[in-house]
């Protein structure tokens, strides 16, 4: 029974990874680079959520309190996180993609976007450290500790809601990619950006949309992380969100459904390895699996062979 309980916990943790893995996979699939601002945005959203709920924003706390009151500050937290992350994503797009594309042609020929995104990672981590300090920040969950149990297995209600929510968001995204005009444009860019331009897709207008979508995915994931696990710090992006990379590779780069399955699997693998071999050793199975995958089957389960063929 304990094993099944661990599997359930793993599935819940996997729900956090799914959205981050989808964010990574979208950027790699569309723009062919590993975006290290994704862990930063995840962390920033989680910290903003915490700060708004606890009234620790640099400014505007009284204003939020006067509108939402003590009880509904979590609503304000969600709004603040989503809005700030969406705006920040647009700034990031400008400096990791648009400007380079305009000035140097194919940006992936250089390691440019990767380096700029690492620069943004440093900016966000140090912004959070200088504003809120480097100690772990503990929030009180607005939804309490609601649980129910089937047999002896305990389910936490907020966690189940989060898992469902993240799956719904990702499934909506994948329907959007399949059925809408925007989705078709996105898939055309992923296939071959130059041909897409010739076919009348406005690449310059679509790419910011990709950044905002991935930013919002990270933000939702970070918000759910704060609500469920209550403790965040400036380095939560490095320790939590990078694990989603393993999930993305497992599912295959550029494949949304692959990222869902990979993310859930990595969550379960992490919890099971903590249960079996201990927390200190849990990194080894996850990253070892990633190393083996890259060595023997880099396309993952459902990957596309064209992706990642660029120089960087």
């Amino acid at each position: 029974m304990l094993v099944i309980q661990q599997l359930v916990n793993g599935l819940m943790l996997g729900g956090v990874y799914v959205m981050v893995a989808v964010a990574f996979t979208l950027i790699i699939g569309m723009l062919n680079f590993l975006n290290f601002t994704i862990p930063a945005l995840f962390m920033f959203a989680a910290v903003l959520m915490h700060a708004t709920m606890m009234g620790q924003l640099p400014f505007g706390n009284d204003f939020i309190l006067s509108i939402f009151g003590m009880e509904y500050r979590w609503v304000a937290g969600i709004i603040v996180s989503l809005v700030v992350i969406a705006l920040v994503s647009l700034v990031i797009e400008r400096f990791t993609y648009r400007y380079m594309k305009a000035k140097y042609g194919d940006a992936t020929e250089h390691a440019l976007p990767l380096v700029s995104s690492l620069g943004f990672l440093i900016i966000f981590e140090h912004f959070v450290v200088s504003t809120w300090g480097s100690d772990p920040l503990t929030a009180v969950s607005p939804f309490g500790q609601g649980t129910f149990s089937i047999d002896t297995i305990i389910f936490s209600v907020p966690q189940i809601v989060s898992l469902l929510l993240s799956l719904i968001v990702v499934i909506m995204l994948s329907v959007m990619l399949k059925a809408t005009k925007l989705g078709r444009a996105l898939r055309a860019i992923a296939e071959r950006p130059d041909t897409a331009t010739l076919m009348g897709v406005e690449v310059g207008r679509i790419v910011p949309v990709v950044y905002v979508i991935t930013g919002l995915l990270c933000a939702v994931s970070g918000i759910l992380f704060t609500i469920n696990y209550a403790t965040v710090d400036a380095y939560v992006g490095d320790t939590v969100a990078t694990v989603a990379i393993a999930g993305m590779v497992l599912g295959g780069l550029g494949n949304v459904w692959g990222a869902i399955i990979g993310g859930l699997f990595i969550g379960m693998l992490e919890v099971m390895s903590i249960y079996i071999v201990g927390a200190e050793f849990a990194k080894v199975p996850i990253w070892g699996l990633l190393l083996l995958l890259l060595a023997f089957k880099p396309t993952g389960l459902f990957g596309h062979t064209l992706i990642g063929k660029g120089k960087f």
Partner: protein
């Protein structure tokens, strides 16, 4: 030299050694985000060979043994890792560093999570000459046939193959020698501070070292030197400006400003600060290379 200056000099020297370790594979276009893994291997291997509980060898023997140990592991993993390219290689080296830190933290005979004390002390009179030797070695390495081969692989791998460059061998050698340099840096770190913890060598360290190299520029051997110096000097200078002007926000937020520098540098110098064109322009008669080796990729194309 004051104690503060000496501490800063040590940090600068170690950063330079690490940076050259990443630079050698990067010169052939292979991005290695696993610096922390090789540094951990070097630091722990040298510490164990040096410790009385381990092999009890003197420092001047334990450091080369640690380098050879890391070199053997680097050769072993270089074959699967170098099969991958681009994004996949960044991911693979990143995963390697995480696996190393996960394993080392669980090895009880090197202290596990609580860290491992190192016996022999390496002070500034050891580290500075070693750093100068590493710099000279890297300049020599890049001027050999192999160095030229690495540059040609960086520019165009298939053309390099057509001209008879053994791409696989060149990449493996660059990767392995780079890993051994990082191992040297890691062992010096351990012997200087006399205490190592696996948690110090984390993802952020790997990221910073890769940034030293990419910001300095991978085209010439000056790049890592400039990048590492930039990283060591700019935050400290900002701190001193902040202290003398009494600006609290600058003292706390100087790394934010520094991150902004990185992003802006990529906008204006995408191939790093030091490019071949710039080198030729600055060098005049002194460093002038034969015309056949110069090209104009400096500003990006």
């Amino acid at each position: 030299m004051s104690g503060y200056m000496e501490a800063q000099l040590i940090i600068l020297c170690l950063s330079i050694i690490y940076a050259y370790g990443i630079f050698l594979p990067a010169a052939s276009g292979q991005l290695n985000l696993g610096a922390a893994g090789f540094i951990t291997l070097g630091a722990y291997a040298s510490a164990w060979f040096n410790a009385s509980a381990g092999a009890a060898l003197p420092m001047w023997l334990s450091i080369p043994i640690a380098m050879i140990f890391t070199g053997v592991i680097a050769i072993a993993i270089s074959f699967p890792i170098l099969r991958t390219r681009g994004v996949y290689m960044v991911l693979a080296t990143f995963a390697f560093a995480e696996v190393v830190s996960g394993i080392v933290i669980n090895l009880e005979f090197v202290g596990g999570a609580s860290g491992f004390p190192v016996d022999d002390h390496a002070d500034v009179t050891v580290i500075v000459p070693v750093t100068i030797a590493v710099i000279l070695f890297s300049f020599y390495f890049m001027s050999t046939r192999l160095g030229l081969a690495l540059r040609s692989i960086h520019d165009d791998e298939s053309v390099a193959t057509l001209f008879g460059v053994n791409v696989r061998t060149a990449k493996v050698v660059a990767f392995t020698v780079g890993a051994m340099l990082m191992s040297l840096g890691g062992s010096l770190y351990g012997h200087h501070y006399n205490y190592i913890e696996a948690q110090t060598f984390n993802v952020l360290l790997s990221i910073y070292i890769l940034l030293y190299v990419l910001m300095g520029g991978t085209q010439t051997a000056w790049g890592p030197l400039i990048g590492a110096a930039f990283f060591a000097i700019v935050p400290e200078t900002l701190r001193e400006i902040a202290e003398s002007a009494g600006l609290k926000w600058l003292a706390e937020g100087r790394f934010i400003l520094f991150g902004v520098f990185i992003v802006l540098l990529m906008v204006f110098r995408p191939e790093g600060v030091m490019t071949r064109t710039l080198q030729n322009r600055l060098g005049g008669g002194l460093f002038r290379r034969k015309k056949v080796l110069t090209d104009d990729t400096g500003g990006g194309s």
